[in-house]
Symmetry: C2
DNA sequence: ATTACTAGCGAGCGAGTAA
DNA sequence: TTTACTCGCTCGCTAGTAA
């Protein structure tokens, strides 16, 4: 299978590009891929037979470029990876009763100042808790840009760093807020927005809610 | 190296996605990847040691999901492939004296009608010949959409099919025209545009000219 | 300098089977 | 049913060297 040759194919494609030819010696390739000159020589000959590469001998070594099968294989492989990493555009969850401390934390001026600066809005004092499938949420969140909200200390205690992720909730700007040291169980995400989302959107506990990029 | 495990990693990532877990047996994987149950079992254990995957035994087989190193490796690999296939946005060449038949062919009403319909402009009667690096031109052209210009017959002779590729030349709409049975040597591409480009842009033979997507 | 053949060796494969 | 151990054998690796 072509996977046996993928590392070398990638090496050639990286150095030569998709269409250009590369003049190089088997010794050089062997060093860079941490294998022997003999193995490189044999593999390149095998790859030529499979039409993964074109290979011509020169004085200084070999002139190598991708052949049709090599290009096709890399293209196919790239598209497969593209599908795997396809970004999730939205995630839907069920509104869940929060533990109620959101209101207190969110409204602290040291946080609010940063929400305004870094997320672009002053948050309604209170968070909306959304129960989501953890794997879906991870895929969704991993496609978003993280905004760091610094922690701070008062004379009484320390308030931790938060990570914000800008989202839209029915086209209202909002954010997912994840405390560095999460107080939440897995599968629950905490939302903030400029308004009381429950009131504004007519939502109750156990309502379904969709959030988007 | 992680390349040794890439095929199996891709298999898992395709089936499970980036974060979800997959319940499957080593026998099933072995069949689909055309190898033995024992090899799958061993490789999965090795991959667990390398933190490429997480692996938990269940009654029906194994629960498998990507682990941090596996995700990182696939991501890195995907980005490498992305660079390889990054589309070329422009190519620069040297204006070259054409063989002069362009004026005649381009101005045939059977072609002109299609230029207007499919490329969006009536072509100035004459082509501009550009000498480019063949590999660069291929990379550039392969990122463009092909527009087919049909051939036709007169009572005297046959005029072949052309392939057009829409481009911009200093923001003027134009096209690369490649005759099915090319009369040109490699490394020369033929351009058409609504105007006399040489006059409009003040160009002479041997001037440098950049064309863009 | 190179590439690539031969030969010998060792890692990895898969059949058999235990758990 | 599974997974995964042992073990024999093969395939692919590298050293030596020819071309």
């Amino acid at each position: 299978m072509a996977y046996d040759y993928l590392e070398m194919l990638m090496y050639i494609a990286k150095k030569a590009g998709v269409f250009k030819a590369l003049e190089i010696s088997t010794i050089r390739i062997a060093k860079e891929l941490k294998t022997s000159q003999q193995t490189v020589s044999r593999k390149l000959r095998d790859m030529e037979k499979l039409k993964l590469i074109k290979r011509t001998a020169t004085q200084k070594g070999l002139l190598i470029q991708l052949d049709a099968n090599g290009r096709d294989f890399l293209k196919q492989h790239h598209s497969n990876l593209g599908n795997i990493f396809a970004e999730k555009e939205e995630v839907t969850g069920i509104i869940t009763k929060g533990i109620g401390e959101g209101r207190y934390y969110v409204n602290l001026p040291q946080y609010q100042k940063q929400f305004k600066e870094k997320l672009g809005f002053k948050a309604y004092p209170g968070t909306l808790n959304l129960r989501v499938k953890q794997s879906e949420a991870l895929e969704f969140i991993s496609s978003l840009e993280a905004v760091e909200i610094s922690g701070f200390e008062t004379k009484d205690r320390t308030f931790g760093k938060l990570t914000g992720y800008k989202i839209r909730i029915n086209n209202i700007k909002g954010a997912i807020i994840i405390p560095e040291r999460s107080r939440h169980e897995e599968g629950i995400i905490e939302l903030i927005a400029p308004y009381d989302l429950k009131k504004k959107l007519g939502l109750k506990d156990n309502s379904r809610l969709k959030i988007q990029k």
